[in-house]
């Protein structure tokens, strides 16, 4: 069973639709900590404000995720779901992230290298420095395009599986063991995105 966590942040329809399209027939949209603990895989989608992840803590889902991840359940965070894997975000300084990866998510700078930088970062951008050992990005070559829409971003670190350049480099995908995240929307990234989701489903 694949648990897609619903924390009332945006629209889950597209993610669920893509997982089912790829053959996952047991997808459950849930707010239950019990179900998350029982799941074979956990997906945390989400668009919108970092503060909405506070609900995860309030419903006991942070703890359930911690336990699930500790026993090896593959976890995929998408967009704000990726950001939540870090310590926190300047978007909502009082809301803690899972802290699985170190670092804070920050807003794109208004100016980069002397030029005005538009924000949000919306559109198709390429994945660079794709880590060869990434299970999530297996078969996804550097230069592959994926669809982004966000104003906050996670820093590049040793756990970064692929970076994207916009106002400098940020983490497009992160992976360490069974915990993974993508800042882009795989459910909206055509063939490349479906490939990423398929890789996750096959773990």
């Amino acid at each position: 069973m694949i648990a897609v966590i619903d924390y009332k942040a945006g629209n889950l329809t597209s993610v669920v639709k893509a997982l089912r399209f790829l053959g996952a027939d047991d997808v459950v949209v849930t707010q239950s900590a019990e179900e998350v603990l029982r799941a074979d895989k956990i997906v945390l989608p989400g668009v919108g404000h970092f503060q909405s992840t506070q609900l995860l803590e309030d419903l006991g889902l942070t703890q359930a995720t911690r336990e699930g991840v500790a026993k090896g359940t593959p976890f995929l965070g998408i967009c704000v779901g990726l950001q939540w894997l870090y310590e926190g975000s300047t978007e909502a300084p009082d809301t803690k992230g899972l802290g699985h990866f170190s670092g804070q998510c920050e807003r794109f700078p208004a100016v980069f290298e002397g030029a005005e930088l538009k924000s949000p970062h919306v559109g198709w951008n390429s994945l660079e420095e794709v880590r060869g050992d990434s299970r999530l990005l297996q078969g996804v070559g550097p230069g592959s395009f994926v669809y982004y829409t966000h104003s906050w971003r996670a820093p590049v670190s040793a756990d970064t599986a692929a970076a994207t350049l916009y106002g400098g480099a940020f983490t497009g995908a992160v992976e360490r063991g069974n915990v993974m995240g993508v800042q882009f929307h795989p459910e909206k990234s055509a063939e490349t995105g479906l490939k990423v989701l398929k890789n996750f489903l096959e773990l």
Partner: protein
């Protein structure tokens, strides 16, 4: 590198794709779901479905058409037409849209922009602006509503700024002067709006050749450009179009 987007637009009336010339003459161009998939396969970066009759005939958005179109579409999908409330928007998202485009209803009640954004995120709200130049040109370009039938007295740049402040994620700017004419986008107007706001601006109206797209990206500073009639009837497809635009020096998603 962030690429410029080519967005295929399907104007839908009564469940069929149609395309008007300057908002009036209508020609049948096919089934929305089929055309959306064909465009996505041919390299369109996004799909927009606009129910062009919804506003003035008071009909709701064609949820069935949306559902059928969204079923196996894995690129961003925007739906517009007849969305008057956060509930209308919720129904469209539920049917599979990723973004909604609001126009007349945002002018009638600007709070709607924030209402939809607070539930679904700012990225999900596109404010569409139908613009016509005034006697003074770009500086007094005016906003029109109800499918271009009614002048509002609002200045285009001012309304774009307000929409941004109220939480719009993108602006879809259609020039009624150039729409359907295939003589090129209104680059001057697009640039004026793009420079006035931080959010992406999608240029619309007037595409007739790859050179027109290159022009609106380079001199119009558009982040994306919308095309409808250029893609229908086999004029060209996105892949061919993007190859040409890319050759003119614009970053495009290729291969796609």
């Amino acid at each position: 590198m962030l690429t410029k987007r080519i967005i295929a637009c399907l104007d839908v009336r009564g469940g069929r794709v149609v395309k008007g010339i300057q908002f009036v003459d209508i020609v049948d161009a096919g089934d929305p779901a089929e055309l959306a998939h064909r465009h996505a396969r041919a390299g369109a970066d996004e799909i927009v479905l606009l129910d062009i009759t919804a506003t003035h005939e008071g009909r709701g958005t064609l949820l069935d058409t949306v559902k059928r179109t969204a079923e196996k579409l894995f690129v961003p999908f925007t739906v517009g037409g007849g969305i008057r409330s956060a509930e209308d928007a919720a129904a469209v998202f539920d049917a599979g849209a990723d973004k909604v485009s609001i126009n007349s209803s945002a002018i009638a009640r600007p709070e709607l922009i924030g209402e939809i954004g607070s539930s679904f995120g700012a990225q999900a709200v596109i404010v569409a602006i139908d613009a016509r130049r005034g006697p003074g040109g770009v500086s007094d370009a005016e906003v029109y509503v109800s499918g271009g039938r009614k002048a509002t007295g609002l200045r285009v740049v001012e309304w774009a700024r307000e929409a941004e402040q109220r939480g719009a994620g993108e602006i879809l700017l259609t020039s009624m002067d150039t729409d359907g004419m295939r003589n090129g986008f209104d680059c001057e107007l697009t640039r004026a709006v793009s420079e006035a706001v931080q959010i992406p601006v999608i240029a619309s109206g007037g595409a007739g050749s790859a050179a027109h797209f290159a022009e609106v990206f380079l001199s119009g500073k558009a982040d994306a450009a919308l095309a409808a009639s250029i893609f229908h009837f086999g004029v060209t497809d996105s892949r061919a179009l993007k190859a040409e635009v890319s050759a003119a020096g614009v970053a495009m998603r290729l291969p796609c």
